[in-house]
């Protein structure tokens, strides 16, 4: 999942020292989704726990609760606990002080999605993800609607959510569409984080383009599903294609879930979603952490390997391997 080739070749656990690694999560508040996707903090922490299974590590977990004071207190607790490495996932002014305290105590720091001065950063690449979504829409248009002169595009979602860097996602989509389909006008529709607004706002856009084809980029999966409903309500299923961002469980599902992206649902107008893999962060973070603990050099910035997930590869990326 990491853009760089990370060497996971660890010696057997029994032959190695066990390291203590702390993971301080952004928030574990139920229902709160992160990074402008449908993933929760709990899913991130669980991925860390799963990834730790095969490594010579003891994990300690903290919840920063999106609060600077809590973030500082967690770092102090970890120092008292004598952890070897601290994975800091927090957005706020406290990151600088947290980094200083940990470094003064000899604790290595790895930052997630928001920088900690002096620490390597593991982060989503929203611009790259947006480009993938835009290119997917453009390729679909070239394949399915060749020769179609009337086409309009919209990017829909909480597009101004700068803390989650959704504007970078929007920029990526816009650039890709601009390069591939320069004649197509792109409208940006800000739902301001209110999913109930997707239908009415998208409905207006659809109504304003009563003929021709519609290329729709949703900034997250929940928005994509709401967009799909809006298209259906307008009777424009034949005229629309949607690409989303995230690939959370609402869209790839478990065994018994109704899955929007599914080999058995190839006709869906949601033609794909760009994966953000927050539910697999642990599998990227812990190998990085192990390299740091062994004294190996790591890049200053490592990004998630985003990938367009469609009905053709969803079972490869997300095998539905629970029974639910």
């Amino acid at each position: 999942m990491v853009a760089l080739a990370l060497a996971p070749a660890f010696a057997p656990a029994s032959a190695q020292r066990t390291f203590v690694i702390a993971f301080a999560n952004l928030t574990e508040e139920p229902g709160v989704t992160l990074e402008g996707t449908g993933f929760t903090g709990r899913e991130i922490r669980e991925s860390v726990a799963l990834a730790a299974r095969g490594l010579p590590v003891e994990m300690v977990y903290y919840d920063n609760q999106r609060d600077d004071a809590r973030a500082l207190a967690n770092a102090e607790a970890a120092i008292a606990r004598k952890v070897d490495l601290y994975i800091q996932y927090h957005r706020g002014a406290a990151n600088a002080a947290v980094g200083e305290k940990l470094r003064a105590a000899g604790v290595k720091v790895l930052a997630v999605n928001a920088p900690v001065p002096g620490a390597p950063l593991y982060t989503a690449d929203n611009e790259a993800a947006g480009r993938l979504a835009g290119e997917a829409l453009a390729q679909f248009a070239a394949r399915a609607w060749r020769g179609q002169s009337q086409m309009a595009a919209a990017i829909v979602g909480p597009v101004s959510a700068s803390a989650e860097r959704v504007p970078e996602r929007v920029q990526g989509v816009t650039r890709a569409l601009g390069q591939r389909l320069p004649a197509v006008r792109v409208t940006v529709i800000d739902t301001k984080g209110n999913p109930a607004q997707v239908g009415p706002l998208a409905g207006k856009f659809i109504g304003a383009h009563p003929t021709g084809k519609l290329l729709l980029a949703a900034t997250d999966d929940a928005t994509a599903l709401a967009l799909k409903a809006a298209v259906e309500q307008a009777g424009r299923v034949q005229d629309a294609a949607i690409v989303s961002h995230g690939v959370d469980r609402s869209i790839h599902g478990g065994m018994n879930d109704r899955k929007e992206i599914d080999p058995a649902n190839r006709a869906s107008i949601v033609i794909g979603s760009v994966a953000f893999y927050l539910d697999r962060y642990g599998y990227d973070l812990l190998p990085l952490a192990m390299r740091m603990l062994r004294g190996d050099a790591v890049p200053a910035r490592v990004t998630t390997r985003h990938l367009l997930v469609t009905a053709a590869n969803v079972y490869v990326e997300y095998p539905p391997s629970d029974m639910n």
Binding site: R53, M255, A264, Y315, P319, P320, S321, M323
Partner: protein
């Protein structure tokens, strides 16, 4: 265990059977190893159950005590994906005037509508493959029709009359002070996602001074079956994951030349798996590559208790597998006899 992906592949294979070439070009020699029992082998690891193996296993019967190792198969038990099992009773002769003859004979019977991989069940050779390649490099696209397989069906298996060995992982983890349990289990259980290693299995064998023999069937007690017993209340939790063997433990079991591996879980292997992008990889390793059967949803608690009480972890493994022609697996009845 039969993920929907496999169902999808199965559907594709049905198309193949009627002439499509989507998978027909697969070179199975590159994807699946050859059977050590030759190119025509459809029997797999039950080849190891020779008369000598069965005779040696019979020595495990000392008291004649029979211990149930299957769960009741009834509506409401946890099922994988969209599977179903349903019985319909036919009792028309109980109607007034419908009995036969002066002796007033009446009768009843059942229609059992069920998929085969439900309840306590055996995974056969045709259950799991890589693309359309199954055990012994079988290009399965050539050997399926609308109703069944024409290779690797259950009818080719030898009787499972051999020695069973129970490995009590709960006890191993308790003694190692590393048991992480789940609060929903009424008895001690190992939490889902826990990877059982070869060292764990070996510790469980040492606990009862057992050395595995070629032809053994290994049954792993994790305690997770306690959730199955609470059906339907804990079905969602039971289905959400499980403790189980990882790839390294599977490799070790393969090296021990066992016939089957069973557990009180729905897939025997750890879920979520060790690599999130691999699907049921231990199934591939055991079944597809080595012809070693997997037995799921085994009732293990009674035998684990028996072993703890007696200090003996071995038993005669008695399991009836119907000669289901062309079938990929079936529910089974298992008794451990001591």
């Amino acid at each position: 265990m039969k993920p929907r992906a496999i169902v999808a592949v199965g559907s594709a294979l049905m198309v193949l059977a009627f002439g499509s070439a989507a998978f027909a070009q697969t070179d199975c020699k590159k994807l699946v190893p050859a059977s050590p029992w030759g190119p025509n082998d459809q029997t797999g690891a039950t080849n190891r159950i020779t008369p000598a193996v069965t005779k040696a296993a019979a020595a495990e019967i000392r008291d004649g005590k029979v211990i149930a190792m299957s769960y009741p198969l009834t509506d409401g038990v946890p099922l994988f994906g969209s599977r179903f099992t349903k019985t319909i009773l036919t009792a028309v002769s109980l109607a007034p005037g419908a009995s036969f003859g002066e002796n007033q004979l009446t009768y009843m019977e059942d229609t059992w509508l069920s998929q085969s991989h439900v309840g306590t069940h055996l995974d056969g050779m045709g259950h799991i493959g890589r693309q359309d390649c199954y055990y012994n490099q079988t290009p399965m696209g050539k050997y399926i029709n609308q109703n069944n397989m024409t290779k690797l069906g259950l009818e080719h298996l030898k009787p499972f009359a051999t020695r069973g060995v129970i490995i009590d992982m709960v006890k191993v983890y308790q003694q190692a002070n590393k048991l992480k349990t789940n609060a929903a289990c009424k008895k001690a259980c190992i939490e889902k996602g826990t990877v059982i290693t070869a060292a764990d299995l070996q510790a469980g064998l040492r606990m009862y001074n057992v050395t595995l023999r070629e032809g053994d069937i290994v049954i792993i007690h994790t305690g997770w079956g306690d959730l199955f017993e609470q059906f339907p209340a804990q079905n969602a939790l039971y289905n959400s994951g499980e403790p189980g063997i990882g790839k390294e433990a599977a490799t070790w079991l393969i090296s021990q030349k066992v016939v089957a591996v069973g557990s009180d879980t729905w897939a025997v292997e750890v879920i979520p798996g060790e690599d999130p992008k691999e699907a049921f990889i231990v199934h591939n390793m055991l079944l597809t590559d080595n012809g070693i059967h997997i037995i799921e949803n085994v009732r293990t608690d009674l035998m684990a208790a028996e072993a703890a009480a007696s200090g003996r972890a071995t038993f005669f493994f008695s399991m009836t597998v119907p000669k289901g022609v062309g079938m990929t697996g079936n529910f089974v009845g298992i008794e451990g006899i001591r």
